[in-house]
Amino acid sequence: MKYLRTAFAAATAFTLITGTALAEPKTNLLHQWATGSDAQAIAKLGEMFTAKGGTWQQTSIAGHTANTLAKLRADVIAGNAPPAVQLKGPEIAEWNETGMTANLDDLAKAENWEKVVAPELLPVMKPTGNWVAAPMNIHRINWLWASPKVMKDAGVTEMPKTWAEFNAACDKIVASGKICISHSTADWTDSTVFEVVVYGQDLDLYKKAFVEGDVDAMRSDGMVKAFEQFRTMTSKYMDPGMNGRDWDTMSHLVGRGEAAFHIMGDWTIGLLTAGGFKEGTDYVCAQAPTDWGKPGFILNSDSVVFFKQKDPDYIEGQKLLASIILSPEFQTIFNQTKGSIPARLDVDLSNGFNPCQQLSQKDLQASIAAGTLVRSMAHNMTVPQKVRGAIMDSITEFVATPDMSAQDAANAMADAAEAQK
């Protein structure tokens, strides 16, 4: 009897020890990439995690971004924060302030993240000096996608470099009977095009208004001028079909040769590839127009934030997941599928990447050197969500209200943003 009890105690102790010593890494990633190439890209992450001996689980919530955030908030309030969540930009800092995020400094130091990750991302990933998030990629927003065929037919010989050239090209294209800008209206698509216009016209205005959230800059003459250019684009160069179109098919108009230009981030590569269109023949890419004659780059980055856990298995899983995300292998596979470029600057893009992606990496370096690199407001990399929401509301209202003046729009934007302070 006594012997039995000792044996039992020994067995229990053994399982306890081995249990902690051999924490089996597992994770559950909460994200919103539910379908298409996004889902494929994230599936790659799962495969690599499993291959390294981890137990992979994911919670993907499609549709409205609010659904993902509602889920996160509900989980946090319920007292079981998810181990890993896809979050970006200022949200990382906001959640960091709650004190619930995990600290990845040890891993970052061991793997030397500081040296390899693009410098512009560092303040986002370590809002108060500690690593709390792992960047997956860098998206470029200020892209101009074009149909060489439509341009040629209309007599446009080269890609417009300034907004004046752009308007001149559009006038020719509209005269030739084609759509100049293919667009599908929604708050984030309208805001994407608009921020590219502001950035291209006035770099300082962009930084003041959209990075710092300065209300006076939003009310300034420069903003009015940007809205005037935007009105020219929405009323003359976009077609009425922009209201009913799905965002995921708008780039196909360029691919099919029905529209000349399309202003959108580099995930367009994935959409065009899915539609069977080829770079060089069906579409070409270039930096969106700027009036200040330097390479420019509006940056957006997806990242994964880690929340503090009690279960050692999940803690172990966080380390493994973060390490995989920052590995050159994952950054390569993931970004080849997604159209973006690696968040690490030391990955060679000469193999398996699209020429547009290679150009993106080159322009990123050049814009860092020129001091023109900025983060994207429309894609939630700068101002807090509430300010961003107010700005985007006013932009999309401007598009939906053809008789709204540029001056009114600038004032409305400033007022809305001011109300959020």
Partner: protein, 310 residues
Amino acid sequence: MAEIAPDASFDPARPNPTGFDPEAAAATRRHFWSRFLVYAVLTLFAIVYLVPLLVVIFNSLREQSEIARNGLISVPRSFRFDAWAQAWGSYCVSGTCEGMKRNFFNSLAMTIPATIISTILGAMNGYILSKWRFRGSELIFNLMLLGVFMPGQISLMPWAFLLGKLGLTNSTYGLVLIHVVQGISFTTLFCRNFYVSIPDDLIKAARIDGAGFWRIFRKIILPLSPPILIVTVIWQFTGIWNEYLFGVVFTSGQQQPITAALVALTAGGTTARAYDVMSAAVLIGALPPLLIYLFGGKYFVRGLTQGAIK
């Protein structure tokens, strides 16, 4: 009690039986035109009501390439059940390629217990609040009634907190609890208003005979209840089955009910929309409540007027 009043409609113009006279002929003509008008109105509206359903049924049977060519609204020129099989068992949503079948069964596992429990509670509450009144029972009834009007967004975060405390997050049980609590208001309202119309003398007589609380419920109330219980079950079943917000926030991945999966499926991604599979998925998601209305609709209308509106 369950019988509705005999057909109370009337003939707008009755032909004169005493043979031909000009007035009667005019009346017959009027009669014809009024009948024509009635059927015309009904047919017109029936078309409007049926078109969306037909469009979805047709598209679930057409090939995607044909939909892309001929648009969404068109008679099928191709015919196959592939989309149904895909939507049910193999289409990729949210990282898994198992179609909607798991979500379908999740919804059943949530809806059936929640419907049964909330109906039983509603019947008991309605019975007490109509036949065993006590001081303050009207107040309690009104309190429960307020629940009918609570917007879901208000309760989202308190529920998150509560479910966390109870350890019921990310489980079907949590959703069952939510739907039972939120459903009590409706079921109690329906049942109470129905039971009020049962004569109190019946209860009194039974009490004099020595019948107690449960016996009266079993022997008198329950046998009279089917009309209202059918209404309650239909109302609860469709309401819970179709609920989206709580399903998407309080469950994830494998636990999600079908409405959440439907949104994931139709939200579209980076590839062209597969209208055929989406249509089949939409129909799979809508089928259970549709069947319930198809077979129970008659009783629903009948019971509703006896219970819900008073």
